[in-house]
């Protein structure tokens, strides 16, 4: 089975288990006993398409606003790593493992980390962004947008993967679509994905900002 089919199968099962809003693992530690230190993190996009960049931006913003970690901004990443964004190769079929980062990419990530000097590097991908249109027999059409979100957080200096993320998110437009900008519903989908990751991140790592 090729990796794309495997990923579809995983996501399909996750959808059935998780209900219509999408499903999967939003954020989980590879080793549940591992304690994330409230130090510093850089979000790196693993893809170079527009949806990857936006997802990284939104996740950076959410982590910065809601956690105790010191979060490096995407502009700083761009300045420090001249060729950023880089496409980080993935392994989506990995015998039930949850390390999406291709092992061959670790030296490159290590190099990026050495420039940014954060304790964690969170790599995220938005894959298979899709638009499905449906027109009812009574008139009126609607669009549903969906994306698969993948992520791995690495700890430094060890370079070990400590967390995994893999879920599908969907968003449908409404009659208000006529008054919305072109990318509004995909933007919403990506923002919501970032929010969900950070909700779970805070729960799991206990690094939320006190109210």
């Amino acid at each position: 089975m090729d990796s794309a089919r495997y990923a579809y199968a995983v996501i399909g099962i996750a959808l059935i288990v998780g209900g219509c809003g999408g499903g999967g693992t939003v954020f989980a530690l590879k080793d549940p006993t591992y304690a994330v230190k409230p130090t510093s993190v850089t979000v790196i996009t693993g893809g170079s398409e527009e949806s990857d960049l936006k997802l990284a931006e939104y996740l950076t913003q959410e982590l910065r606003d809601r956690t105790q970690l010191n979060v490096i901004g995407q502009e700083e990443v761009s300045k420090a790593v001249a060729s950023y964004p880089i496409a980080v190769k993935t392994v989506e079929e990995n015998n039930g493992q949850v390390e999406w980062i291709d092992p061959s990419e670790k030296p490159r990530l290590q190099k990026i980390q050495s420039k940014l000097r954060t304790n964690y590097v969170f790599v995220v991908w938005s894959k298979r962004l899709k638009q499905t249109s449906y027109c009812s027999s009574r008139g009126g059409c609607s669009n549903t947008y969906s994306a698969d979100v993948f992520g791995n957080m690495l700890e430094y200096p060890s370079g070990k993967i400590v967390s995994h993320t893999a879920f599908n998110r969907r968003n449908s437009d409404s009659v208000l679509a006529l008054f919305r900008s072109k990318g509004y519903y995909v933007d919403e989908l990506l923002k919501k994905s970032a929010e969900d990751i950070v909700d779970e991140f805070i729960k799991v790592t206990n690094t939320g900002r006190g109210r």
């Binding site: 170079s48 527009e50 950023y84 496409a87 962004l129 449906y134 027109c135 059409c141 072109k182 995909v186």
Partner: protein, 196 residues
């Protein structure tokens, strides 16, 4: 006609318009007289689509116009760490580009221009490649890449032209259809009075 068919027909008509009917380049400074012949085509994004189209467009422009176009190898040698991300002229670009030319990071374009020593820099962004329908016995399936581009004068970074268009990409080989790119290159050559 069944409604999904109507919708598909609408999409196809939109694609035909994007691929053939509409202008792909227009001048923002008129009248235009080229100040020099040296030109570089730069990808404003680091993704494969942008790089592939930058190469293809540069090749076609070199053939159809009097511009002396730098090869992508020369561009990569001149600009450290090329390709680099340059904030592009759009608000969003998922399935279609929501263009806003005021959003371009012109400062970054000027920085890149300094390395090139050319008279003009054509920066293109190809942020979205979408798939419409499937292949059949009678038709081949192509992916469609949406592109937005701006032509800047050097030095100074004054914008002198811009355009938005789409080109077809072979589903299997991922090669850009040269006839689509040639049409865009020819239109730019005509409008800048540089046709060979």
């Amino acid at each position: 006609m069944h409604r999904p068919s109507v919708m598909r027909l609408g999409t196809i008509i939109g694609l035909i318009l994007a691929l053939s009917g509409c202008s792909t380049f227009h001048l923002t400074q008129e009248p235009f007289q080229p100040k020099g012949k040296k030109l570089a085509v730069i990808a404003g994004m680091t993704n494969d689509s942008s790089l592939r189209i930058a190469k293809s467009f540069g090749d076609e422009l070199g053939k159809t116009s009097m511009f002396q176009v730098l090869s992508q190898t020369q561009v990569a040698q001149a600009i450290p760490n090329y390709p680099q991300l340059v904030k592009g002229p759009y608000k969003s670009a998922y399935f279609e580009i929501d263009v806003d030319y005021a959003k371009t990071d012109v400062g970054r374009v000027k920085e890149l221009q300094q390395h090139l020593g050319v008279d003009y820099v054509y920066v293109l962004w190809a942020p979205a490649t979408v798939s419409h329908g499937n292949s059949s016995w009678f038709s081949k399936h192509y992916l469609v890449t949406q592109i937005v581009a701006q032509l800047f004068e050097s030095p100074g970074g004054k914008e002198v032209g811009r355009g938005q268009y789409a080109v077809r990409v072979d589903d299997q080989t991922h090669q850009v259809l040269s006839e689509d790119v040639r049409r865009v290159a020819l239109e730019m050559a005509e409008k800048t009075h540089t046709v060979k």
